[in-house]
Amino acid sequence: MANLLSNMLTPEFFFSILRISAPILYATLAAIVVEKAGFANIGLEGLMMFSALFGSLFSYYTKSWFIGFLVALVVGVLMSLLMGFFAFQLETDIILVGIAINMMGSGGTLFLCKVITDNTEGKAMASTTGLITSSLCIPNISIPVIKDIPFIGGVLSGHSFLTYLAFLFCFLTSVMLYRTSLGLNIRAVGENPNAAASVGVSVLKIKYIAIAFSGLMSGFGGAFMSMSYAQGWSQDMVAGRGFIALAAQAMGGGECFGGMLSSLLFGFAQAMGIKFSSVGLDSNLASPIPYAITIISLAVFGVIRQRQAKKPRTAEGT
């Protein structure tokens, strides 16, 4: 146990929390914005898988991580617009659209990977891990002054630029939601679409913008997964982060700052799981920890919400 603690109180451990939290934070921001617009996008997992695959493939074929990164964003947005078309135009239940995207994101990406890389024969498990070298990954940035500060430098400096961007986006999304007319419209559509429509807001357009935003965020998350977190795409590499984000959104009360804190909590749980297995505990015992924490924290959040809901009522009664 002491061994575990001394293992954990290192800059590397806190560094890994930030690194692990970044993709969850992107997906959480996606979940927050669509939730504000009044619906749930459970296809984040699949969107991230597609972005991760195409990001890594294009980075390999164009020999440029930046183009791969842009393609990941474009793929995320296009796929999410497709989801929007089915959900809003053809009135498919948005949850079912999400399930379909996740289905395609799981097996369909493997199909595309096999077909595009021509790794069909003999290899049951195709991936792009062999194609992506560290020069094709999104570069890490060391911050000039901070990197020399002991401990803090080790925690904060040297991350992929997408990690910094994730936390910046958390702030920007909050500004977008509460300080711009677009944000106002998104929230209005989510709270009462009829009222929003009556003052001339195009509900459909706002919903499309919201889902495209979630696609963009999934694009960032997916690019991070295959071009920074891991070198290359492999099957089911997103491993439930798209779902964990839904929980982080709920736990954070649907707000950006709360969502960031809950993303960090999940990052912490996952980093701890990795530490557990490094000191010899079975990783199968450590791996479910983030998922279990999700359920527990959702339950706790539910209790808190119920108490809050009860309070004003009793106050009125007395």
């Binding site: 289905m103 779902f243 479910p288 359920i295 339950a299 539910g302």
Partner: protein, 389 residues
């Protein structure tokens, strides 16, 4: 709309959805096929499509087409677990509960039944029944977690059940690694099931036993009938469907909404667990799954295809098994990766669930019916100009 028109509409809509999916599949096969020019690729695509559409039942070779009983038996055997998960999802979704736990449920049921099958010797005949019931019960109890959290604390059953799938998988892997694995084997697997626990083959015919088509198939069909009776001929089934249509209405008409929601997910859990258990005891000598089996996701597609009606589940399950077999055939004979099924499945799924898909056609049918009614009434001269459309 008349019943006949409704049926025609459903058929046209379903066939068109499948057709669109096939066009998408054709495009994907085309880009994945081998050949130096477009003509060669097109020929290869044609061959692959033939395998996809006809291959599941017929052998294609130079001599022509010949029926393969083994392949039909394979398809029927593959239907068993997905029929169960399809039923499970039907009942849970009918109550408007997007519980996605059938995936983990099937694995948990299979594992629980395997434990009974290995460690608790019971008389032949009783043993598999006890093991399957146990597998179902354990899963039902675990399914209480999302159900109760939803009813009591309004926690999203969808997120909760998804998380449960992962937890179930890792805990089973942990138990396998540390307690149940047969260490003398290179691969992680349990000790073999006791002979008394195995589910018997449907007949001793060599084709049937090669395909491992067990009595589980008959049980699955019986389960379909029971589920249909439950959903459409019982009080609880009616309440489940009513809650799914309008929860507030159900609440204000005095139904115990919380209880019914929990009940629907308990039944769903039991069915998915039992399905996994039957699959495990019928087709495997030991438990060796190291990942989620995928039956739960297929079950969701099946429930959507069946419109949440248990009676249509076996047909949807047959269709999905046929498609899977077709994709396997394509992978074997035409070198098209078998994961194509996930894309085809997703496309069919999207169009089936789309409310507005062919809405104009439906509208025209409704108008036509109404106009005919008006004409009929005018002819009968019973009522004045007012006719309801």
């Amino acid at each position: 709309m008349t019943k006949k028109r409704q049926l025609i509409f459903s058929l046209v809509r379903g066939l068109l959805a499948i057709f669109i999916a096939l066009v998408v599949a054709m495009f994907l096969i085309f880009i994945s096929s081998e050949g130096d020019n477009a003509a060669e690729k097109l020929a290869a695509t044609g061959e692959a499509l033939k395998q996809l559409l006809v291959g599941p039942l017929f052998r294609l070779n130079a001599a022509g087409i010949s029926f393969e009983g083994k392949r039909l038996a394979d398809i029927l055997a593959a239907m068993i677990p997905t029929t169960f998960t399809g039923l499970a999802v039907c009942i849970m979704f009918a109550a408007n509960q997007f519980n996605l736990g059938a995936e983990g449920g099937a694995m948990l049921g299979a594992f629980s039944a395997a434990v009974i099958a290995i460690y608790y010797p019971l008389p032949k005949g009783v043993h598999p029944i006890v093991a399957v019931l146990f597998g179902g019960l354990v899963t039902a109890i675990v399914m209480l977690i999302p159900a109760l959290l939803k009813v009591k604390l309004d926690v999203s059953e969808m997120v909760c059940s998804l998380m449960l799938n992962y937890i179930i998988m890792y805990i089973i892997k942990y138990l396998m690694n540390n307690y149940y694995a047969d260490k003398s084997k290179g691969q992680i697997q349990t000790y073999p099931f006791l002979n008394s626990s195995k589910i018997a083959m449907l007949s001793s015919d060599s084709v049937i036993s090669a395909a491992k088509l067990t009595w589980g198939f008959v049980i699955a069909i019986i389960a379909v009938v029971i589920c249909w009776l439950f959903m459409y001929r019982s009080r609880f089934g009616y309440q489940i469907r009513m809650i799914g249509i309008n929860q507030d209405f159900a609440k204000y008409s005095g139904m115990k909404v919380g209880f019914i929601i929990v009940l629907s997910q308990l039944i769903g859990g039991f069915l998915s667990g039992a399905g996994g258990a039957i699959e495990m005891l019928g087709r495997y000598p030991t438990f060796s799954w190291s990942a989620l089996p995928g039956y739960g996701w297929t079950g969701i597609t099946i429930a959507i295809l069946a419109g949440n009606n248990p009676l249509f589940v076996p047909f949807a399950a047959f269709f999905m098994a046929y498609l899977q077999k077709g994709c396997d055939m394509m992978a074997t004979y035409a070198n098209v990766p078998t994961q194509l099924i996930d894309i085809v499945q997703g496309v069919i799924f999207l169009f089936f669930a789309a409310e507005r898909f062919l809405a104009k056609y439906r509208q025209s049918l409704v108008v036509k019916t109404a106009q005919e009614e008006i004409a009929q009434k005018a002819a009968q001269n019973k009522e004045g100009g007012q006719a309801n459309g």
